[in-house]
């Protein structure tokens, strides 16, 4: 049974991505008790699935390492993974959250030695790689995973495979009898940092995502570029494993569109500009990138990053919202059709691979939070006194890049600290 010591001076942080981790760490480093919940098996969230960050082209896991070290050395934070909030009752300064914990089938005895993975042969979709690859059914979620503990995929529970994993573990770490648990957690304030999900590209029917193998999303492209991704960092396209040297990036795939997401997702222009670097990095001689855009939104200090990409002769900018994508059946190449609005030229351009710069949708739309929280019509949490001691952070509140998410999360941490300080003063 999971035991959590929490009081109405505890801050509950929901979501273990960069926003949630930041909020938890900043509050804990100010001296507060924190419970951090993450619905998957490891912390890190979507940023840990990115290959590089704009504009420094540095690696997201570098900051993750620092955050994990802060976390490991801070006894004020209790982390629960595979945990989801199903209800929140009470009011500011006095909440009780109901949390469902799904079984990992591996307990804290796990040393991450990897023997269970060797014993198991079943392969399951690798969620960390957006299902672009497979992983063993006993797996460490990723190289940086915290907790550094294996997970058994529920699909093998009750099969001989699970027994094999259990037999391979010398430390009694595999517990096939684990059951779903429901626990109640007290908290004075709640930081809701459930992040975002890529807009479902299949809904943008004319672009053929799901029908054409060589039309992928920007988040999937990150996994292809990552040396630790399913292709070992080679830009190989899904249909035939051919090198994708001529890559199209389609901006506003789902964003700025009344039929899909009304808002601008803010990060996608910079993400595509960044991804043109991946193409050049892999194919310095003959890599080609084409960006189809409405406006390039390299906002504020990112402008020079845009100017550098613009100066690169391997990158073409076409001001156009691509009308539709068709398939060249002979070679599997996607063909982008549309009109270049700068001079009104029609085009039909063939590419090796099309990357849809998909928009950002709040993961749990504000209105779906199991408490009364004010959200806008897109589902982003608004700052509103009616939310009491529940504060949105990061992409749950707006379409933000990493830098701004961290700012937002730090601000949310302060708001939560204000509530628990008030509770402490009242109790003193």
């Amino acid at each position: 049974m999971t035991a959590i010591v929490a009081t109405n001076e505890t801050i509950l942080v929901v979501g273990g991505g960069i926003s949630g981790m930041t909020a938890a760490l900043e509050a804990a480093e100010t001296g507060k008790q924190v419970v951090l919940l993450e619905k998957t098996a490891a912390l890190g969230g979507r940023t840990s699935q990115l290959y590089r960050y704009f504009p420094k082209m540095c690696h997201p896991v570098c900051g993750l390492e620092i955050n994990l070290r802060r976390l490991k050395s801070n006894p004020r934070i209790k982390v629960l993974t595979l945990a989801e909030v199903t209800g929140i009752a009470g009011s500011s300064g006095d909440y009780t959250a109901t949390v469902r914990i799904t079984p990992r089938y591996v307990n804290e005895n796990c040393t991450a030695c990897g023997e269970c993975a060797k014993a198991v042969s079943t392969l399951v979709d690798d969620q960390f790689n957006y299902k672009l690859g497979k992983t063993k059914a006993a797996y460490l979620p990723n190289a940086m995973a915290y907790p550094q503990r294996y997970v058994l995929d529920p699909s093998i529970i009750g099969t001989a495979e699970a027994e094999k994993a259990k037999a391979a573990c010398k430390y009694g770490a595999i517990d096939l009898g684990q059951k779903e648990e429901i626990v109640q957690i007290k908290a004075g304030a709640v930081v809701w940092a459930t992040g975002w999900q890529p807009y479902d590209a299949a809904k943008i029917q004319p672009y053929g995502y799901g029908r054409f193998k060589n039309v992928i999303t920007s988040v999937e492209f990150e996994r292809l570029a990552d040396p630790h991704g399913p292709t070992g960092g080679k830009l190989l396209r899904p249909s035939d494993g051919k090198e994708a040297k001529n890559v199209a990036f389609i901006q506003c795939a789902g964003s700025r569109d009344e039929n899909h997401l009304r808002h601008c997702s803010r990060f996608c222009c910079m993400a595509s500009l960044k991804q043109t670097h991946y193409v050049r990095e892999r194919f310095p001689e003959d890599g080609k990138s084409t960006i189809y855009y409405i406006d390039i939104r390299a906002i504020d200090r990112f402008e020079d990053f845009y100017q550098k990409v613009k100066a690169d002769s391997s990158v073409t900018f076409t001001k156009s919202k691509v009308a539709r994508i068709s398939l060249n059946e002979a070679n599997g190449n996607p063909i982008c059709h549309g009109v270049n609005t700068e001079g009104y030229h029609r085009y039909a351009n063939e590419h090796d691979l099309v990357v849809l710069a998909v928009g950002m949708e709040p993961s749990v739309k504000g209105m779906n939070i199991p408490a009364s929280v004010v959200a806008d019509s897109s589902g982003f949490i608004e700052a509103d006194p009616a939310n009491g001691g529940i504060f949105g952070a990061g992409c749950a509140t707006n379409a933000l890049d990493v830098n701004r998410s961290v700012q937002s999360a730090t601000a949310a941490a302060l708001r939560a600290v204000q509530v628990v300080n008030k509770v402490a003063r009242a109790e003193a």
Partner: protein, 746 residues
């Protein structure tokens, strides 16, 4: 720690360690060579039983120093958590058995590797002590906010709401800053369709009603002395009075000014009163007070208006601002609505190259289109004043018409933000360039904002274009001056909504700095570290390298010109320790000795053994985790390397390298983070300073008659999981080529 030092070594046999290594021999090495008073092995040290064994020895055997020979220091941190003790970890799993083949012929060198790590761990822990905390703490809990605009007022109110007193200093006679000069603001709540009230008056009223906030108007900070938790700040007012305040942490919210439109004569500014900047239009709107906006030239109602976006911004030619200010597109949309909402017949045209309305700004943009605002993609070349009207000449990018013209009554230039960041201390420290016409190449602002009494200059260092941002992506608040946080457009171009969020976050960081200073703890990235630099002044030669190199400006000089450490400003990177030529600076848990004694503890086989020894000093933030993950993936590398994690390349004292070479190591590899413009060093300048220092090592090598390749400086990123083993193996081959070090027999 008053108790007598008692060192114990624990060897784990779990995770295959027991099968791959001779644990009894390791226990023996710890006892005989590591000279620990107690050495034990255990089948699974991280199990509850194993941890209890250690706890029991601490409680009943008086063990103070713990050496754990098991997995990496990055693993099982909850189990091996002994904050009261000095702890060293010998990495036998990720660092030895997982990077070596499980073969009979590899067994000997694998065991030797493990034995060396035990020797190193014992030597390290003996040279350490559990940090007792910095006694030089400060207990001031008041927050100083410099700047009374929206960012500053937000910070002040948020701090007060959290229970901390605030001193707010504003240089002008009233609060509100630029926002007070606006007619309306960009909406922040749904439906994002029309300009909203600024809310500034309400903020000012809240400040005035708050007994926790003390406001100084017409005031400037004339002196900031001390450190987080004990800043002493002098505030001078126009009337001549000077007050001194005890301050815990500082928020600099000094905002921005509009880019000077006088620099844009080609756009008609200064040539016609009917060409205004965005601030000018706000003034006209306020004067109109909801009525028709009037032309400055003749006082007649404006019938048509053009907004020129990116005026003096996004300029690649280096004449004007190279950046985009981020807020101006929404601001022009808002200003166009000032006209359209009053009279839909007024023609409003926004000339832009890329319209930038992120997030829900898109709804605001759509609302403007619905209201009839014309958006035209074009690059404005000039504005020519004519009789009764202005002609805007632009390149229409949609029709590709280079001679497009638009006649309007009024032109608004969206000129963007220039930060008020005070003195550029890095420009100050650069020697003046002689000749060159005598004009200063840098437009250095001579007036300091904080007047810091720091050895390294009076203001917060700037990163680029005058912004004080440190520009960590993951850690946007980390300036290079501990306990001083910059917020709002002084840090990065931003709008009011973002500035308010920014100020709220920075307030948390400032409060955290106050709490840390009180407890003598380090701030990010070594949060909570209780160690701090100690200096043996009797050995100091006053060379000043530590005071010059400290990336965080923590070290001043006292009256006798000795370094004066301000521990609460320190981030514990150890750059001072690396810089010190006489090695008088150390931390309780990290010192020239903790690393040096590890280097010396390694057994160096003779030159005929064909067993070279390569020392790797690896940055704990990036290189060490990469090596660790290489281990987790069982990527093999040479058994001849001995890896010592270091806090930062900046902390590397060259004595370690010369000692290693003198002791007969055959090569030294330094692994640190990228430096320069896109630096990845978590201590900002640490790896750069370390590298600069190490670039001089060639002379030492020549003096020793050694090949310069005996020392290799490598840039390693945390993702180099596959590269790092290859780098090691290539270097091991290179060592074989060069031959063994001639120093072995000495």
């Amino acid at each position: 720690m008053s108790a007598e030092k008692k060192v114990a070594a624990y060897i784990c046999k779990g995770c295959g360690l027991g099968e791959r290594l001779d644990a009894d021999a390791l226990v023996n090495v710890a006892q005989k060579e590591g000279k620990v008073q107690l050495a034990r092995s255990h089948d699974l040290l991280c199990s509850a039983e194993g941890v209890d064994l250690i706890k029991n020895d601490v409680a009943n055997e008086g063990v103070t120093h713990i050496m754990i020979g098991a997995c990496s220091r990055r693993a099982k941190t909850e189990a091996f958590y002994f904050p009261q003790n000095a702890v060293a970890r010998a990495n036998l799993r990720e660092g030895v058995i997982w990077i070596r083949p499980d073969t009979e012929e590899a067994r000997e060198t694998t065991q030797e590797m493990a034995e060396d790590y035990i020797r190193m761990g014992c030597a390290e822990v003996k040279a350490m002590s559990a940090p007792a905390g910095n006694p030089n703490t400060g207990s001031a809990r008041t927050l100083l906010v410099v700047g009374g605009g929206v960012s500053g007022m937000t910070a002040a109110l948020e701090a007060s709401r959290t229970g901390y007193p605030v001193v707010l200093v504003e240089k002008s006679g009233q609060l509100g800053g630029w926002a007070a000069k606006l007619w309306k603001r960009i909406p922040v709540h749904e439906p994002f369709k029309a300009p909203a009230g600024t809310g500034v008056a309400d903020l000012v009223a809240q400040i005035q009603a708050d007994p926790n906030i003390k406001v100084y108007l017409n005031a400037t900070v004339t002196k900031t002395d001390g450190a987080p938790g004990r800043f002493e700040v002098q505030i001078a007012t126009e009337s001549g009075s000077v007050a001194t305040e005890d301050i815990g942490a500082i928020i600099q919210a000094t905002g921005s000014e509009p880019y000077d439109a006088n620099k844009l004569p080609e756009l008609g500014y200064g040539k016609s009163p009917d060409v205004v900047d965005q601030a000018g239009l706000e003034a006209l709107a306020r004067a109109a007070n909801g009525g028709p906006i009037l032309k400055p030239s003749d006082g007649k109602p404006v019938r048509s208006v053009a907004f020129v976006q990116c005026a003096g911004q996004r300029d690649a030619d280096g004449q004007h601002l190279p950046y985009c200010s981020g807020y101006c597109c929404n601001a022009s949309i808002k200003q166009a609505m000032y006209f359209k909402d009053g009279n839909p017949d007024i023609d409003t045209t926004i000339l832009f190259t890329d319209l930038r309305t992120p997030g829900n700004g898109e709804d605001f943009y759509r609302s403007a289109q619905e209201k009839g605002v014309i958006f035209s993609k074009g690059k404005v070349a000039s504005v020519s004043p004519g009789a009764g009207a202005l002609t805007v000449n632009f390149h229409d990018l949609i029709l590709d018409d280079k001679d497009a013209k638009l006649e309007v009554d009024l032109v608004v230039l969206a000129t963007g933000q220039v930060p008020n960041s005070g003195v550029d201390i890095e420009a100050l420290s650069k020697p003046p360039v002689e000749g060159e016409g005598g004009e200063a190449t840098v437009e250095a602002k001579p007036i300091s904002i904080l007047n810091l009494q720091y050895r390294q200059g009076p203001d917060v260092p700037q990163l680029k274009w005058g912004f004080t941002d440190s520009h960590f992506i993951c850690f946007p608040y980390e300036t290079r001056r501990t306990g001083i946080y910059t917020v709002g457009p002084v840090r990065r171009p931003m709008d009011m909504a973002q500035a308010r969020e920014d100020a709220t976050g920075a307030t948390l960081k400032a409060i955290q700095a106050i709490e840390n200073a009180q407890l003598g703890r380090a701030a990010h990235p070594r949060s909570g570290d209780l160690s701090f630099p100690k200096v043996r002044l009797e050995g100091c030669t006053q060379c000043k390298r530590c005071t010059v190199e400290c990336p965080f400006g923590a070290i001043d000089e006292d009256e006798k010109r000795f370094p004066l450490f301000n521990e609460s400003r320190c981030r514990r990177c150890g750059t001072c320790m690396g810089a010190c030529p006489v090695r008088v600076i150390s931390f309780e848990n990290y010192s020239v000795d903790t690393v040096g004694s590890q280097i010396k503890a390694v057994d160096i086989p003779d030159e005929f053994s064909e067993k070279p020894r390569i020392l790797i000093l690896a940055c704990e933030n990036d290189a060490y985790p990469a090596l660790d993950m290489a281990g987790m993936q069982h990527n093999e590398y040479s058994a001849f390397v001995r890896i010592v994690p270091i806090r930062c390349l900046g902390s590397v004292n060259t004595i370690w390298i010369t000692d290693a070479l003198n002791a007969g190591y055959d090569g030294v590899m330094l692994m640190g983070c990228k430096h320069g413009e896109n630096y990845q060093c978590h201590f900002v300048k640490g790896s750069e300073l370390g590298r600069y220092r190490l670039s001089k090592i060639d002379d030492t090598l020549k003096n020793l008659n050694l090949e310069t390749d005996r020392v290799r400086d490598l840039e390693v990123a945390i993702t180099d999981i596959e590269h790092v083993p290859a780098m090691i193996n290539q270097y091991a081959e290179r060592i074989v080529e060069m031959g063994m070090s001639p120093f072995k027999s000495f």
